[in-house]
């Protein structure tokens, strides 16, 4: 029984993003990190492994630099790592999903945890798309998951609050922010991780012919600059601002 956690390396949330030649300039990103929601997926994947639900493999699809993220995951306890080396920046949703679904199959995993969306593409297509390809039950907006015998119990956000749901294998959980603490690696974990070997493959090694992307990115641009705002001193200015909201902005 194998559990897979899908991790994506993205520009750190504090990193400045610059655009040059109609594309976000990846080479100018100062710091790369694991996408925030994926970190919650990793934490719960570790908890499932510790509860005896299976071995844990961390999977990523990305360029060479993404390997560091897998080593970091090994330092907190994942058993094995699979790196599909590819440039995902111009791929459409179908292409990336077919690679990851094949990677999951390659690892023999039938329980998958991932973030609800990545902090760079901000989409949220990957988890549910893969669940569909695997024929797995899909639970999104998850903030907690537990193993219960042969099945799993998860807490997910719903329109009216939260719901506790249960699913059986095969299943996929896409994580929202959770209230749990994320674990940090200790020295022993870091030393052990250095000795672990990352399995590195290409999309074609997995038997994937991706075809052409059906979504052509025309350009990236910096967001339009807002004209500088007006700033007022003191609570007395509230009256002025309310008037402006009504007469200049027309929003109240």
């Amino acid at each position: 029984m194998t559990i897979a956690v899908l991790l994506k390396q993205v520009p750190d949330t504090t990193a400045k993003i610059t655009v040059s030649g109609g594309r976000v300039d990846q080479s100018s990103v100062a710091k790369w990190s694991t996408s925030p929601y994926d970190e919650y997926a990793l934490e719960y994947a570790l908890q499932l492994k510790e509860a005896g639900a299976g071995d844990l493999v961390a999977i990523t699809c990305g360029p060479d630099r993404a390997a560091k993220m897998l080593t970091d995951a090994a330092a907190v306890g994942v058993d094995s790592m699979l790196h599909v080396v590819a440039d995902t920046t111009e791929m459409d949703s179908k292409q990336i999903q077919s690679i990851l679904a094949a990677a999951i199959e390659h690892c023999g995993a039938d329980v998958v945890l991932c973030g609800k969306q990545a902090a760079d593409t901000n989409s949220g297509s990957t988890g549910p798309g893969i669940a569909s390809m695997m024929g797995a039950a899909c639970v999104g907006m998850v903030s907690e998951v537990m193993v219960e015998g042969d099945s799993f119990s998860a807490l997910r956000a719903s329109s009216s609050g939260n719901e506790r749901v249960s699913v059986s294998r095969p299943c996929l959980f896409a994580f929202d922010k959770a209230s749990t603490e994320l674990r940090r690696p200790n020295v022993k974990g870091i030393m052990m991780a250095k000795r672990k070997v990352i399995e590195t493959v290409s999309a074609s090694d997995l038997g994937i012919d991706m075809g052409e992307s059906q979504v052509i990115i025309e350009s990236h641009d910096s967001p339009p600059e807002k004209p500088p705002g007006q700033k007022f001193e003191g609570a007395d200015s509230v009256q002025t601002v309310v008037l402006k909201l009504r007469e200049e902005a027309n929003v109240i």
């Binding site: 179908k94 989409s123 549910p128 719901e163 641009d221």
Partner: protein, 305 residues
């Protein structure tokens, strides 16, 4: 050309974003069919101007959310360009439908033009992406980014009673603490941060919100520090992305991760005692004052309108 809209529902009726989906679809021109999961909102949808047909999906599987089984029933009816809301359930369902009909999906678009050029915000609002799509495909639309269609339509409602095996079973529903409006739905959002000092002080935000029909949000620092402030109120990178016409940030410093969730608001007001707080960099109207001084005045002034 055909456009299929996945209705976003709210309770037994239609959610206002569905009118925006129809508005966007109408601007492209085409024959518009609206799919109503569980039949919810079918009558509402049939009177939205521009809708040709409503398919009321009444199968048993629609009694609780399971994107896998819902999409299995909906995929055969999803023709041409498929549009859904970029709400959490809209994204999940959209991605499953796309996978089942074998087309790509582009999520959370804020603009669409004929010839299918779409724009969306990427890198947490730090860049804008323009791409062109082949038809057919699935797109989800950001709430409040498109003009809603008006009423006055009279589309036929077709009832379909198909179901599919449910694999996500709901064991318990845990209701939200308050009955306040969701920040993603509101035209006006007022959010509090760590500067509110204590969760009980959010009552001052609630009071202002009640005067103008706003939803109340929070920064992550507020959500993480105080149990009384649930994550469902969090705006930002790891919370909700909001797109209201007016966003009022109170006692919020304006960290980049907070801005990621609200910088696309049409107008931003910031109330902060620190004149150098980064939130003033994105505010259309900044008020350098403590909330203790500013909120009572704000409530009073808004009450006069």
């Amino acid at each position: 050309m055909e456009i299929t809209i996945i209705a976003e529902t709210s309770g037994e009726g239609i959610h206002p974003v569905t009118e925006q989906l129809v508005g966007a679809a109408s601007s492209l021109g085409g024959v518009i069919t609206v799919l109503c999961p569980g039949g919810r909102g079918s009558d509402d949808a049939s009177v939205i101007s521009g809708v040709s047909k409503v398919i009321s999906l009444q199968g048993d599987c629609f009694s609780s959310f399971d994107s896998g089984s819902w999409s299995t029933v909906m995929a055969p009816f999803s023709q041409g360009i498929v549009m859904a809301s970029s709400s959490p359930s809209g994204r999940e369902l959209g991605a499953q439908i796309a996978s089942k009909i074998g087309v790509p999906i582009v999520q959370d678009i804020t603009g669409i033009e004929p010839g299918y050029k779409v724009t969306r915000s990427v890198y947490s609002g730090k860049a804008v992406e323009t791409s062109s799509l082949s038809s057919p495909c699935v797109v989800t639309l950001r709430q409040n980014a498109f003009e809603g269609a008006s009423g006055g339509g009279s589309a036929e409602v077709v009832v379909v009673d198909n179901s599919s095996e449910v694999s996500v079973s709901v064991r318990e529903a845990i209701a939200k603490a308050g009955e306040r409006m969701d920040v993603s739905d509101a035209e006006i959002v007022i959010s509090g941060g760590r500067g509110m000092g204590d969760p009980s002080n959010f009552s001052h935000l609630n009071e202002v919100a009640d005067v103008i029909g706003a939803a109340v949000g929070a920064s992550r620092a507020a959500v993480d520090s105080w149990d009384e402030i649930p994550h469902s109120m969090q705006v930002g990178q790891t919370g909700k992305t909001v797109n209201p016409t007016l966003y009022i940030a109170v006692g919020i410093s304006g960290a980049i991760q907070h801005l990621a969730g609200m910088r696309s608001s049409k107008y931003i007001v910031a109330i902060n005692k620190d004149p150098d707080a980064p939130i003033f960099g994105v505010a259309d109207y900044g008020i350098v004052a403590t909330w203790e001084d500013a909120l009572p005045a704000l409530k009073e002034e808004l009450g006069k309108l």
